[in-house]
């Protein structure tokens, strides 16, 4: 499903080069639930940005669902983000001016769905995350856990092949965090491909497979990474 081969990504902070991704290779199989675990600054968010086609690697190949990202134009990358990837961010990233329903509809607008289909799919997705009775609420009227569930519904509504979750519980209390993780585990059971990024080992253990990242390099075992 996701094939990353020898990915490099270097940032420059002032004159200093930061090797955020240093020869990273990772294969994620369809319907797999992978957790990427590492301390802050280890490069895991950069890895997610590359996997989510928000950022392009300096070198290496990334093949998503059979498409080589290096060959894609800006327009094609937008299409991939729209149809194949659903994002769940640490800070939810919902639009405050819109209701929960409209937020979930948003990716469908860019997929050029008809209004009827859009509302149906958005409602179904909100129903799935247990927010059927909160559709008309603004994000500011919802709790953190509810907001994160709206974000998950948004990722679901677009029928994405891959759900990329970057510290989805990072801004939540433990109870809401557990609810959100239970939802993500449910989605995994329903054959969604999920990549979870976290620094929390407890949460990472819920995944089928854990890879560790430290200083831009991937390790299969936590000892190898020195964690």
């Amino acid at each position: 499903m996701l094939v990353l081969e020898h990915i490099y990504k270097t940032y420059y902070v002032g004159d200093e080069a930061v090797h955020a991704l240093d020869d990273v290779s990772l294969h994620v199989r369809p319907q797999e639930f992978v957790a990427i675990c590492g301390p802050s600054g280890s490069g895991k968010t950069t890895l997610m940005n590359v996997m989510g086609c928000l950022d392009l690697p300096d070198s290496g190949t990334y093949i998503l669902d059979g498409i080589d990202i290096a060959d894609c134009s800006d327009r094609e990358l937008s299409l991939i983000r729209s149809e194949k990837i659903g994002f769940v961010f640490q800070q939810f990233n919902l639009l405050d001016s819109m209701s929960a329903l409209e937020n979930v509809e948003l990716p469908l607008i860019y997929q050029k769905c008809s209004q009827k289909e859009r509302i149906e799919r958005a409602k179904a997705a909100l129903d799935k995350v247990g927010l059927a009775n909160r559709m008309q609420h603004r994000p500011s009227q919802l709790s953190g856990g509810q907001q994160q569930r709206v974000a998950i519904a948004r990722a679901l509504a677009s029928d994405a092949r891959v759900i990329l979750a970057d510290e989805p519980t990072g801004n939540l209390d433990s109870k809401s965090g557990n609810d959100v993780m239970r939802l993500i585990c449910d989605l995994s059971d329903q054959d969604n491909t999920i990549v979870l990024i976290t620094h929390n080992m407890e949460i990472a253990k819920l995944a089928q497979r854990i890879v560790y990242v430290r200083d831009g390099r991937l390790y299969d075992k936590s000892e190898e990474a020195g964690l």
């Binding site: 800006d74 937008s78 961010f89």
Partner: protein
Amino acid sequence: MTMFFNSLRLALRSTLANKMRSFLTMLGIIIGVMSVIVLVSIAQSTTSSITSAISSMGSDLITVTVTDEDVSVTADDYMVLEDYDSIAGVAPYLTVSSTARYGSNYTTVSAIGVTEEYMDVAGLEMEAGRSIVLSDLEWRTYVAVIGTEVAGDLFESYDVSGKTFTMSGHTFTIVGLLAESGSDTTGSLDSRILIPLTTAERVADSTAVTTCYVKADSANDVTLAQAITEYQMLLLTGDEDSYEVYNMSELLDTLSDVMSTLSLMLGGIAAISLLVGGIGIMNIMLVSVAERTREIGIRKAIGARRSHILLQFLIEACVLSILGGLIGLGLSALGLQIFSLAADMTIAMEWRAAIAALLFCIIIGVVFGSYPAAKASKMTPIDALQRI
């Protein structure tokens, strides 16, 4: 197309979400549109009321004025012009300013000594009674045909036939009332009193008639008739500086030239304020793009293309400018109504100016919205998301 309507809905919503800011941004456009429409409309209405007043005096009318006091031209001298085919009528007239009295009422009038042809040549209509006829001229009778304003001032009634008034020491009997004809640039046309030319000569104690109307046979003959008149006047006076021959249509042409230049200039000045309003829109759109960087990032992350973001901000700029334009249009319609009432004249909205101003608004929305919109669309999703 759904994309367009979604963007439109979104733009309307964000315009309404920041009511104060949107209003202040639109204010520049509103004032610009209002000044264009109101100024041009007033200029056009004034022009058309002046030109219609002038053209009602007849564009086939040629006016002769003897300016040199030493040259004496009599009424009969002018009559040679009648022999030409291109000239339909000749009406020498003599104006005597005087005061007309009736009882304790009095009014300042211009008494015009006229021939029997004057009414026809000058295009005047009778309201009641008869006009000056040939026998009045032969007998130098003290009869008068008066304007409605004179009738109102002296008798406070339009039923004036047979009544008498005194003027310049003579008693005149009223035989007719002129139809109302409003006013022109020289003042009210209804404060005229027509008396026989021969009577006027006696009152003025002079046979020199300094003014004459010459009516061309048709509008096509005006140029020829004017040339003939000029030639005859040269023969009569022997000095081309001692008289003036001019035609209303010339005056009309000059006037409408001046007025259209004037209204263009007014429109142009007002358009500058529209331009300034457009810069205001660009300014606020740049602020809006900066404020909504995170939103742009989110939208891009969930699949918005460059063109989607571009369209969203472009439509938002256009909504601001077009909404401002429409409000400006409404306010100028209202303003013109109020101005019409206050100035006691009808001022029609100049639709061409209104349409031009609205088109200009759309162009402003697109032109001044495209830079901020392009700026927004070119953000990379990662940059946009990280700037919180």
